[in-house]
Amino acid sequence: MDVAKQQQETMKLSDANAAAYTVRPNFEEKFRSTKIQDILYSCISDVLGDKKYEQEACSEWTKTITINIRDRLKSSNMKLERYKFIVQCVIGENKGQGVKYGCRCLWDSDTDGMAEYVYLNESLFCAVATFGIFYY
């Protein structure tokens, strides 16, 4: 009888602990590319708007864009507390040259994701890629 009671106690404890730590995000807590793209678009248009390419200003713009996006992701209401973020921004002058931007990731495709946005105007192009990595 004692053994049975002890077993019941242990089951109760482990159930309580199981609810506390999740190793997979629920659907609402997942990194969803389309939602993140809206954030990317608004941060880029706030900083770049209709600007022309300027060498000195561009380095400031890249830093501001990446920092703004990272801060908005951290403080968003999308329940992304378990995620680590990497935001990369490339701004270049549009002079008719060829550019190629590619990436590969070794990650857990169930939990991790990427969102990208490319902004183009007559004098510059801006490509932003944001990666969200779930922390187990």
């Binding site: 680590k84 973020f85 990369q88 270049g92 060829g98 990436c103 990731c105 070794l106």
Partner: protein, 110 residues
């Protein structure tokens, strides 16, 4: 002391891996629009394969920008929200007479 090597991002090691992959793929080539897709894919895949062989408990993100040289300017920046003690990044800038290549590798510990 071994722990530090095993569970944190070692920049020098990764930087060598990147340089070898770039040299092997586009070391002696000139910019060609038709081949650039293959080049970026090859560089990035080769780096990812070499990184996996290091057998470390990391998730990796490798990105590569190749741009033709024609006098235009290019700026890149990245901002990360992670654990400074275990995660890290490495960016390598490479150029030859006809093109620029910038490769960034981000490693996040599991």
């Amino acid at each position: 002391m071994d722990d530090i090597n095993e569970t944190s991002f070692v920049v020098d090691e990764v930087s060598n891996v990147i340089k070898e992959s770039i040299e092997a793929t586009i070391g002696s080539q000139s910019y060609q629009q038709a081949k650039i897709n293959t080049w970026t894919s090859n560089i990035v895949e080769a780096i990812l394969n070499s990184l996996t062989k290091l057998n470390k408990p990391f998730k990796y993100i490798v990105s590569c920008v190749i741009m033709q040289k024609n006098g235009a300017g290019l700026h890149t920046a990245s901002s990360c929200f992670w654990d400074n003690s275990t995660d890290g990044s490495c960016t390598v800038r490479w150029e030859n007479k006809t093109m620029y290549c910038i490769v960034s590798v981000f490693g996040l510990s599991i």
